[in-house]
């Protein structure tokens, strides 16, 4: 029974599918809950606007929901997939894909909740700028979803690319590592991008005339906080597409698994930290728009320092893959 490849493929696909949906449900639910809480607070301040607030809440929640819909799609694919060329490597790839999508949906789901919640709150403060607020919210939360989209891309590649020609040892570890790298690194970037977008919606509601500056700095801040997940994506691609000499030694496998773990976990902190820096800058650009240049400079310096640990993690990953 231990040598029955189809059994192992089913085991991997079903556990991977479970992980994808289970982990993937965490983020969107929290983000949408935050949005609903802010919307309720907003309605209590001005019940006459309840229709507009409800509409804004639902639009925002729909975007936050998309992260978990990606997870649902991957989970369903894993449940009903028929594998054309079964091998034990396929099993590793399917499990890696499930992990990637599950972890990858957490950050984007939570993050997208912030701009939606702040947009609802802002609607009560400045009902006449509802259009600007909604646009800003949509841009901000769309950027928040990119880490989840990276995770979905990697998960689909792991599921559909035929790796069966490669040697099982150590490629199995590379495939699971590839899933962990993008999936975990996406948590930080999604969450961080959400912090920046939330602050920008709050800022637009406070000072609608600063919308141009606020949106620009939000986008710059979000772009920097995405880099952590781009490092994770890069390591995933290297892990998936490098060819490895066959090696029965445990060392070779653990190197590749550890490379994924390092860049994956390593991306979480800098992604959140960069988002916090962007949140601070965006919030104060809205209040003091003359000082936008100085604030942006400080934000970028702070983000660069915060980014350094993600770069250390990437260096360690690359050492694990190419040097040792």
């Amino acid at each position: 029974m231990l040598n029955d490849i189809q059994t192992w493929i089913n085991v991997a696909a079903y556990t991977g599918g479970g992980m994808a949906m289970g982990l993937g449900a965490i983020g969107a639910a929290i983000g949408e809950g935050y949005t609903a809480a802010q919307a309720n607070a907003a309605v209590s301040r001005n019940t006459e606007l309840s229709g507009d607030i409800l509409k804004s809440m639902l639009v925002g929640q729909a975007i936050a929901e998309s992260a978990s819909i990606f997870a649902l799609v991957i989970a369903i694919l894993l449940l009903f997939l028929s594998v054309s060329n079964p091998s034990l490597l396929t099993a590793a790839a399917l499990f890696g894909g499930g992990l990637c999508m599950g972890f990858g949906a957490i950050g984007s789901g939570v993050g997208s909740g912030f701009p939606a919640g702040q947009a609802c709150k802002g609607l009560v403060r400045q009902p006449q700028v509802a259009g600007k607020l909604t646009t800003n919210m949509l841009i901000g939360s769309a950027v928040c979803q990119t880490p989840a989209i990276f995770s979905m891309v990697v998960a689909l590649m792991l599921i559909f690319i035929d790796f069966s020609g490669a040697p099982l040892l150590p490629t199995w570890a590379a495939l699971i590592g590839a899933g962990l790298s993008t999936g975990l690194a996406a948590i930080g970037s999604g969450f961080g991008g959400g912090l920046a977008a939330g602050a920008s919606c709050e800022g637009v509601a406070r000072q609608p005339e600063t919308v141009g500056n606020v949106t620009t700095i939000m986008l710059i801040g979000q772009a920097v906080s995405q880099t952590a997940s781009i490092f994770g994506l890069l390591i995933s691609f290297v892990l998936m597409f490098k060819s490895y000499p066959e090696s029965a030694a445990l060392t070779a496998s653990m190197c590749l698994l550890a490379a994924g773990i390092s860049s994956g976990f390593g991306g979480i902190g800098p992604g959140i930290g960069n988002g916090m820096a962007a949140e601070g800058a965006v919030r104060w650009v809205a209040r003091d728009v003359e000082n936008a240049g100085g604030l942006m400079r400080t934000m970028l310096v702070g983000q660069a320092v915060s980014q350094s640990t993600a770069i250390y993690a990437m260096v360690v990953s690359l050492c694990l893959i190419f040097v040792v």
Partner: protein
């Protein structure tokens, strides 16, 4: 497949290196971001002190960075020395 003791030890060292750097990078990343966020807030309230505030931020971040560097050192030790 015969797994030897030395192989297991080396494999554990590599896995440990990945865990050390990966988990060790979370704290400094978040902490330094908080410092940068508060500096932006302070510069927003008091723009003429931007130089002093940026300096203070960088010193604070450097201290917060230290744990990330410890992780890097341990990871490199695990990779290349032990």
């Amino acid at each position: 497949m015969a797994v030897e003791g030395a192989d297991i030890i080396k494999a554990a060292a590599f896995l440990g290196a990945g865990l050390a750097m990966g988990l060790g990078a979370i704290g400094p990343g978040v902490g330094e971001g908080m410092a940068a966020a508060k500096t932006c807030e302070a510069i927003g309230k008091n723009p003429q002190e931007a130089g002093l505030l940026t300096r203070t931020m960088l010193v604070g971040q450097a201290v917060s960075e230290s744990t990330g560097i410890y992780s890097l050192v341990i990871a490199l030790l695990l990779l290349f020395v032990v």
